[in-house]
């Protein structure tokens, strides 16, 4: 990638940071109580929250990652786009019930009818923090790599006196400081506005690239696909499933079957994970009522759908316009495909300066994307630690509100510090699999607990706790024993494709994504836990929960006047 645009990139980063800092400081002045800090005062409109949901959801992994997978492996990257979108229908079904039944967190819904409050709350907090930290780690390691690429620092080179390695560490630390600042200072109000700005920027950036790349082919999608297939050197195969996922290995039916099961496992995790992601769930509570929550999910479906359709143009466009050799030379995983596409398209339009400008813009969008997603994750974790663990376990549900919010701010700092340390340690590892893992964990641990709490009469505390810990530990254990951690070796070079170096091999589980096994296991644990315990379900509370969830009677609403307590029960 070219040289002097990086000062422009750097400048645009700074502009974004300054604007969002301003908003955060404004939000701080308008954050008075727990409703403000955790739920933005429940005052966001449906469309606003829809933009923020989309902003929370469309991570850099999907923007840069999917474009990269499509650019290098063709059609298979599109699977992610489809799974990530279709998953929202499940969210649409659950959003109103959860909005009506809960207050700030998933645990509010899970513990509503549970007899053993503290255990359920603790389990929910453990799961929330685990899922969020894994997701966070993937984003932050990605941020380090992205920024050193954007600033054009290669090993051996330097920018403003920084080497590539130092730039990575510095970026991770700066991203960590920023996200902790957004959350501790701006709470849900500040974070939501950061998400909204980011969503608008990301949609605009993707739209510009899509229009420009399609214009190169006279707005004929078929021609662009043809050019991409030709440029890839794999002809029509490039436009079909099977180059990356579910690969058919000649003469090895077992391997072929495993590959296909792995593909299905990933697909299951993607479609079932979204509704259990803590940073998505905590966004359900930022609107005044269930109808606004439904509207916001509909907006999110529209935005996310249009965005993921455009990834198709970005990915195939990058292959056709930039070429695979150039993309793989920058980053073997293809994460820079969208950025290189931006430079090339800008160059066509306005020479090297045009290239620099468009690259700087898209780079800043990617940076904004990372910052917004990580703050959403930190906010969800700190909310759960403060509200669920501190408020309801340590303080038996009777903390002072100001005390709880102070703990939330402190937790944000702790979670942020943990994520920074982990990301610096893992900065040179390929941790892209963590995103799919986070989805698998959310689907295995959180989804069974949510669905059964809402719909199964007999479900009890033991079931919730067993389901969450079972699903969580099941997916973590399967991942540790999977080829992503050890034992996957490049057949040609003998180099390790796993997290651990070649030579260490304890992979007992053949699939790279645990979802296919761990999600049914999570449900099984939840059901078995319920049936094997002698605890009786609280019938009256179940009736209450269903009335409340379906009608919105007694749900937590936005306070009309300043200082008035929300009209909850």
């Amino acid at each position: 990638m070219p040289g002097d645009g990086r000062f422009l990139t750097f400048g645009l980063f700074l502009v974004f940071i300054l604007i969002t800092l301003g908003i955060t400081i404004w939000a701080r002045a308008n954050t008075r109580n727990a409703d403000d800090f955790y739920a933005g005062g429940r005052a966001f409109s449906g469309p606003q929250n829809g933009l923020a949901l989309a902003g929370d959801y469309m991570s850099a992994a999907s923007f840069l990652g999917i474009a990269g997978i499509i650019a290098l492996s063709g059609y298979d990257g599109f699977l992610y786009s489809i799974g990530f979108l279709v998953a929202w229908l499940l969210t649409l079904l659950l959003v109103e019930l959860m909005r009506n039944a809960g207050r700030f967190t998933m645990a509010d819904v899970l513990s509503y009818r549970a007899r053993r409050q503290p255990r359920v709350r603790t389990a929910a907090a453990v799961s929330t923090v685990t899922v969020s930290v894994f997701y966070l780690l993937a984003q932050m390691v990605g941020a380090g790599a992205l920024v050193s690429l954007l600033l054009g620092i290669h090993p051996g080179q330097s920018f403003l006196g920084l080497s590539a390695g130092a730039a990575k560490v510095l970026t991770i630390i700066i991203v960590g400081l920023m996200m902790v600042f957004y959350v501790t200072y701006g709470g849900m109000k500040g974070t939501t506005w950061v998400q909204i700005i980011k969503a608008v920027l990301l949609m605009a950036g993707t739209l510009v690239l899509t229009v420009l790349v399609l214009a190169r082919f006279g707005f004929n999608l078929s021609d662009m696909l043809g050019a991409a297939a030709k440029a890839s050197g794999r002809a029509a195969d490039f436009l079909q499933p099977g180059l990356k996922y579910g690969r058919e290995i000649e003469g090895d039916p077992l391997r072929t079957l495993i590959n296909k099961l792995d593909f299905i496992s990933l697909a299951v995790a993607l479609v079932l994970g979204t509704a259990g992601l803590p940073h998505i769930v905590s966004r359900f509570f930022t609107v005044p009522d269930a109808r606004a929550a439904r509207t916001s999910v509909n907006w999110a479906i529209g935005l996310v759908g249009v965005f993921y359709l455009m990834t198709l143009a970005l990915g195939f466009g990058a292959t056709a316009v930039v070429g695979q050799a150039a993309i793989a030379a920058q980053d073997p995983a293809g994460n820079t495909a969208a950025l290189q596409l931006a430079y090339t398209l800008g160059e066509f339009a306005g020479g090297p300066i045009g290239g620099d400008i468009l690259l700087a813009f898209v780079g800043a969008v990617a940076f904004a994307t990372i910052l917004a997603v990580v703050s959403g994750l930190v906010l969800a974790s700190s909310t759960s630690l403060a509200h669920d663990y501190f408020g309801h376990v340590l303080m038996f549900g009777r903390p002072r509100e100001s005390q709880e919010v102070a703990v939330a701010r402190f937790s944000a700092f702790l979670v942020g510090a943990l994520a920074v340390v982990l990301a610096v340690v893992a900065r040179n590892l390929n941790v892209a699999f963590l995103v799919a893992l986070a989805f698998a964990m959310a689907a295995s641990a959180n989804l069974p607990a949510i669905v059964l709490s809402l719909f199964w009469k007999r479900f009890n505390s033991t079931g919730v706790v067993a389901g969450i810990y079972g699903g969580l530990s099941g997916s973590l254990l399967l991942m540790a024993l999977s080829p992503v951690v050890s034992g996957k070796v490049d057949p040609d070079t003998g180099a390790s494709l796993s997290l651990l170096p070649a030579g260490i091999d304890f992979h007992l589980f053949p699939l790279e994504n645990p979802g296919l096994v761990s999600i049914p296991f999570g449900f099984l644990c939840a059901v078995a836990g319920t049936l094997l315990s002698r605890e009786q379900a609280d019938q009256e509370r179940y009736d209450e929960l269903s009335v409340r969830a379906l009608t919105g009677t007694g749900s937590h609403r936005a306070a009309r006047r300043a200082g008035k307590r929300p009209s909850g029960r």
């Binding site: 059609y75 599109f78 699977l79 786009s81 489809i82 979108l85 279709v86 929202w88 229908l89 499940l90 649409l92 079904l93 207050r103 509503y112 078929s222 021609d223 696909l225 043809g226 029509a236 436009l239 079909q240 499933p241 099977g242 579910g246 058919e248 296909k260 593909f263 299905i264 697909a267 439904r294 999910v297 509909n298 479906i301 529209g302 759908g305 993921y308 359709l309 509200h387 408020g391 549900g397 009777r398 903390p399 002072r400 509100e401 709880e404 719909f455 009736d543 209450e544 269903s546 009335v547 409340r548 379906l550 009608t551 919105g552 009677t553 007694g554 307590r565 929300p566 909850g568 029960r569």
Partner: protein, 133 residues
Amino acid sequence: MVEDPRTPTVPGEFTALAHDHRFHLLKARFRRLATTLVAAFLGWYFLYIALSAFARDFMARPAFGHINMALLLGVLQFVSTFVLAWRYTRYARRMLDPLSAQLRDEAQRRQAEREHIEQVMAERRRIENWTRG
């Protein structure tokens, strides 16, 4: 104080609503809607996934130009998601929202009445104590 979601409510308030025949209707409608939606979108999604994994020749068939069945079905997943979300919302607006609004309003009115009666009773007790004293 942060509100505890387990603070006891007036006993029977929710139980009465839970046994209201209109609530049963609402519940039945929601369950039918949810089952239909989940069956439709998960069935269609997994059909698509199964075709991608096991019916590669079918997916490779060209539909028009360079656009093959795989791409066509993939884009159709987007279309179906939009359509299902729209249909779900329309059904919910027509068949669920009026019913739940009715039940909620009644519950809130009862709550208000109860609070009013409590206020009156408290006032009466105050006066009685005062006259007795």
